[in-house]
């Protein structure tokens, strides 16, 4: 597998979707992923997705993942697992590690779908065993079927914090509370309501002050925050908990894009540093495309559509497939970025397009 017309790095929702569309257009595609199992984070998403029917609303994340894998197999996409990508050379060589040593893959186009890393917080005791990212807890309960703790404090009320809290309840844990530094809940009301119906308190304008424990977490101290996000003296409150989960945002994993010389921009609304890209996800390096969280942290549904778009566009740039499909995907992406929550992301994406044009002018 030392040559491919299109190499896709990352076998999550964006990468698999990109591979599918590129293969459908007639390209020879190889996907590599450092994990032993494909699907990225999709197989941990046991909740039903939102949106419209064309975005598979009502279907659980893992079922969407199974569908993508089935399609990849039917289209003859080569999915190579257990290979962490190490770098990209200017000639399109992707270098990755294998059990037999370092190997190369020469590609005419590279689609980066590397996803994002979870952010963390520092506080007294934040290094105690029992303090972990929300994603770690989700991986343990939904993929490996073990409970990382019995009494969990969730820090952060974006959709990740809300959904994983509910999934912790489904796995049999007790969620003692969710805390949110902002004055309002970050995620969708429908997710928050499910927790409230289950009797889980959600505290806004409050955060974790410290984790308490000798060898592992035995308790947490919460503190109220004022309108400047500063602790209010005398508001400390100690809860009994053995686990602290942090759902405090994600940052795009852009290292490979940086190695490929892609110009970056900084967009806090999309998670931070992001490779500049055009409306078809092509970066400032014309050989390199991005899709999914690396192109701005959003959701699996947008990652799938971005993957499709990058796959179609990368194939088109090699003279494969037809233009007709691009517009339909762009329209679906626009639909996903509408409404109260989507409009901000749409605005941020338009900022990226504008900066891209300036950079390429």
């Amino acid at each position: 597998m030392n040559k491919a017309q299109i190499a896709v790095i990352g076998a999550g929702p964006a990468g698999l979707s990109a591979a599918l569309e590129a293969a459908r257009a007639g390209a020879q595609v190889t996907v590599i992923d450092e994990n032993r199992k494909p699907g990225g984070q999709l197989f941990k998403q046991i909740h039903k997705f939102f949106g419209s029917r064309q975005h598979q609303a009502g279907t659980r994340g893992f079922a969407i993942g199974q569908g993508l894998l089935r399609d990849c197999e039917e289209l003859g996409v080569s999915v190579q697992l257990g290979y962490p990508a190490l770098g990209i050379f200017p000639d399109g060589r992707v270098v990755f590690n294998t059990a037999q040593g370092v190997r190369s893959l020469f590609a005419q186009r590279i689609i980066l779908a590397t996803g994002a890393n979870e952010n963390n917080l520092y506080f007294e005791g934040s290094d105690l065993p029992g303090v972990m990212t929300a994603g770690a807890a989700q991986t343990m309960i939904n993929e490996h079927r073990v409970l990382p703790g019995q009494r969990v404090l969730m820090v952060g009320t974006g959709n990740v914090g809300l959904i994983i809290s509910y999934q912790l309840l489904q796995a049999g844990a007790e969620v003692v509370a969710l805390v949110e530094a902002a004055p309002q809940i970050g995620g969708y009301a429908v997710h928050a309501s499910k927790l409230r119906r289950a009797g889980v308190p959600i505290y806004t304008s409050r955060t974790i002050h410290r984790a308490i424990g000798e060898k592992t977490v035995e308790g947490v101290e919460l503190v109220a925050l004022n309108e400047h996000f500063q602790p209010v003296p005398g508001t400390g409150e100690i809860l009994c908990a053995d686990t602290v989960c942090m759902a405090v945002g994600l940052s795009p994993m852009v290292e490979l894009a940086a190695l490929a010389g892609c110009q970056m921009t900084h967009i806090p609304a999309l998670g931070g540093t992001i490779p500049l890209h055009d409306k078809n996800l092509c970066t400032t390096n014309p050989m390199v495309y991005v899709a999914g969280d690396i192109a701005g942290v959003e959701e699996a549904s947008t990652a799938i559509e971005e993957g499709r778009l990058a796959g179609i566009a990368a194939a088109r740039s090699l003279g494969l497939g037809d233009d007709g499909r691009q517009q339909a995907v762009q329209e679906r992406l626009l639909a996903l970025r509408s409404g109260e929550f989507g409009a901000k992301r749409q605005q941020a994406k338009e900022d990226i397009l504008r900066t891209f044009k300036e950079a390429m002018a």
Partner: protein, 104 residues
């Protein structure tokens, strides 16, 4: 603790193998990450840091952060959250950078 029954995922795979944690046998599911078997057995401290000696447990759970490094079959700095468990594996708490043999 294992999640044997789940309202959406159904029943989990039974434990069919044993691994050894600091010499003590614990049950595991073939191929699950070592860290998952340890968590199921109630083990939370996986290593002690080089500088302060403070204990660390799993943090990211997907092989990024290196907090779950242990000595596995003599190899130090093995990320137990992404290393599959096999029957008879010897897993040891790691102190500092590990005292086992290095990768050959």
């Amino acid at each position: 603790m294992r999640v044997h029954e789940h309202p959406i995922l159904g029943q989990s795979e039974p434990e069919s193998i044993s691994i050894y944690f600091d010499g003590k046998p614990i049950p595991a599911v073939e191929g699950e990450p070592i860290a998952a078997a340890l968590i199921a057995a109630g083990v939370r401290v996986l290593r002690h840091t080089e500088k302060s000696g403070r204990g660390r447990g799993i943090f990211c759970g997907i092989g990024r952060c290196n907090d779950c490094k242990m000595i596995v079959d003599g190899v130090p700095n093995t990320r137990t959250c992404v290393t599959p468990a096999h029957d008879g594996m010897r897993v040891e708490t790691q102190y500092g950078l590990g005292r086992g043999s290095c990768h050959e």
